[in-house]
Symmetry: none
Subunit: 219 residues, 4 copies
DNA sequence: AATGAATGAGAGTTCATTCAT
DNA sequence: GATGAATGAACTCTCATTCAT
């Protein structure tokens, strides 16, 4: 009796996370307004009232979803880059891009991104949170790499460290467009990423005598 | 019977446009789901039923808003570019970008763009419409300019004509980000546009002996 | 200029009748609640407001329809029977039945009957009016014929003059059933009428030595 | 989870029936279109939303009312007749008529009948259902009894087994007329039924030497 | 007399939230 | 803790009726 039946106990402790995950699936499928608490409950295998045991309102549930799903990805990349002092800055940039294409465009996390963009205006805390926890961190990271590249004489570019968004933009757009328009106009994300990275390379690296014969991305 | 009373009649002809404009304001403020027909009516200074006199459903009203506000912009750009045979391709590209930054990022039309992106997944006709009427036309335009530039020997870039999205992406992201994050992190769109265009220039134009001394955008 | 253009004038005077007829068609097609004034107007070829020029409410229009369509039929039969002193009472009865089968079951007047039955409970004046103008007259007529038949020694039946409904019932039911169930179970009204009349005959006429060899209805 | 709380549970099981009964009362009072779900809810002592917990639409509620109130009656009669092999066919016929007069004309079930007739044309499923579940069963029953009577030499009538409606018609008309016209012209249903049954008897039974001295209905 | 644009009360339906069990 | 029956405010859409022209 001490500690209770382990299976049931684990179940109990896992409840909130299960509900959040069920909610994530519902939200990315249907958006905030069209998601019914009852659907979330059904997906989580609990009764409607149980959701309210852990989350006082639908908005709180949404917040939990956003919080749980958005932070981990970026942190991982940051750690990888910061620990690394020897890799050329451009290769780091390429690596960041590759990770984003894989983890954001290539998974259904793009639907979460879409949801955050979509619901942002109605949830001030959401945009504030997303900007603070994700965007600014991502931009800081790119900025750091750009400056390191410039310091090492790799990059000739100026101004981009002021607007790292410009470098990330095609990736974010790829995420949004594949989510929205895949039926009408599917994108070959592999090639899209290659072209994007090649564009960055030509723009950042100093002129070479024979232009363009460098391998765009040997990976 | 034919002709009607002039005052009434002028009103009748003006009504739909008035309602569409009121609806646009409501939609960009609150999104589709959170906009009540009654709000639109109040904003247009008419009764609830009057809205239904002109638009059979809320979706039809939404479609009218999208159509009225989004199609004219792109068409105008297309006409300007197509009529022009002498301007260097890069200057055309820069012009397109400038127009987009001015009309899309610099006005509250960005909120409409946001709304279309936000509500897209739940309104297939909307994504279909937006893709057909706006995106594909915009991409075709950029593609045409790129090819013209390549044919004239201006551009060395390959691959971009396959993914014109990559060139437009920073503009669209600027629209979305200024809409979402302006309170937390305002962007100096002028400089952002300069940097974006300079990036494109360095990536597209062949190497010059003296790199970077070209005026970025004399406009 | 005196009297105005005759065509237009006739049109004007005919307006109410035209609207009533249009309303009749709508009402029998859709019932009272589901008939929209706008439909009636469209069917009459006038504007919605015009209907209200002649009929203050939807109910008033309904009343006009009922009044205009229900009285004429019965009066004609009554006159024919009352003027006739020589025909055997049973032949008169048969004649009444034949007329009812032809004019009520065989035309779309049955739909009007249906409408009166259907809407009756919500329009007390309608049932009152229908009972006074139609039903009681019809029942009085049958009663009179029955009594004449008894007086002449034709009929042996008693009690039926108290409930003439019993003799009319199969006809009314034929009208209702053909209206409601024709798709599922069409009735051969000719034969149905024959069987009905034969039933009345056997019930009313005194026994004959050889039962049933009388022609049921030479008509 | 399984079993639930007894009090709640009993309530849940009773609710649909309570709502159906409340709906029946509203429908027979006001007809389908004029009945508001809120009225039904109020009459059942629940909130508007509760009705939708058990019936997805107003039509579904209507169907439930029709089904619950109309099927049991006929089934009961059928069972009683079918189990019986010895009773003379005419007595069975009389029994059917008596039950119909008692259960259909003598109760407010006649208002339900009226409602079904009234709303039939606008609800195809309703006429289809009524014809299949009630009418055709009733007609088959009468047909079977008629044929049994003919086989036993009780009846001389021909043709009626083709149109059993003719025998039922006065009963249905009694139901409708007492519902519609009772205020203006009340019917003594007892005597009406006697006369109706006597009419059938004279029409069906072969001639007797002493006509009419048979007790009409010893019951 | 005739029009038809405008109105707004009211209906069906949905669903976040509550709470007795 | 967990349930799910119950609630009722809120929303979309309809249509009888009005009235300026």
């Amino acid at each position: 009796m001490l500690g209770g039946c382990p299976k049931r106990r684990r179940r109990k402790e896992a409840r909130p996370a299960e509900i959040v995950e069920a909610a994530r699936l519902c939200f990315v499928d249907n958006g905030f307004a069209a998601t019914r608490i009852e659907d979330v409950a059904a997906r989580a295998g609990v009764a409607k009232g149980t959701v309210y045991l852990y989350f006082p309102t639908k908005e709180a549930l949404f917040e939990a979803v956003a919080r749980a799903n958005v932070v981990p990805v970026i942190e991982q990349v940051i750690r990888a880059i910061e620990a690394d002092e020897t890799t050329p800055a451009f290769d780091q940039l390429r690596m960041i891009a590759r990770v984003m294409y894989r983890d954001m465009v290539g998974t259904d996390r793009k639907r979460l991104l879409h949801m955050i963009i979509a619901e942002g205006p109605r949830f001030p805390w959401l945009t504030e949170f997303y900007h603070r926890e994700i965007l600014s961190k991502g931009m800081d990271l790119i900025r750091a790499v750009l400056r390191r590249g410039q310091a090492r004489g790799e990059f000739r570019a100026e101004g981009l460290d002021e607007f790292p968004q410009i470098l990330m933009a095609p990736t974010i757009i790829a995420a949004i467009f594949t989510h929205l328009f895949d039926a009408h106009d599917p994108i070959d994300v592999e090639r899209y990423a290659d072209v994007h990275i090649a564009l960055i390379e030509r723009a950042l690296l100093p002129d070479r005598t024979s232009g363009g014969d460098r391998q765009p991305d040997p990976e």
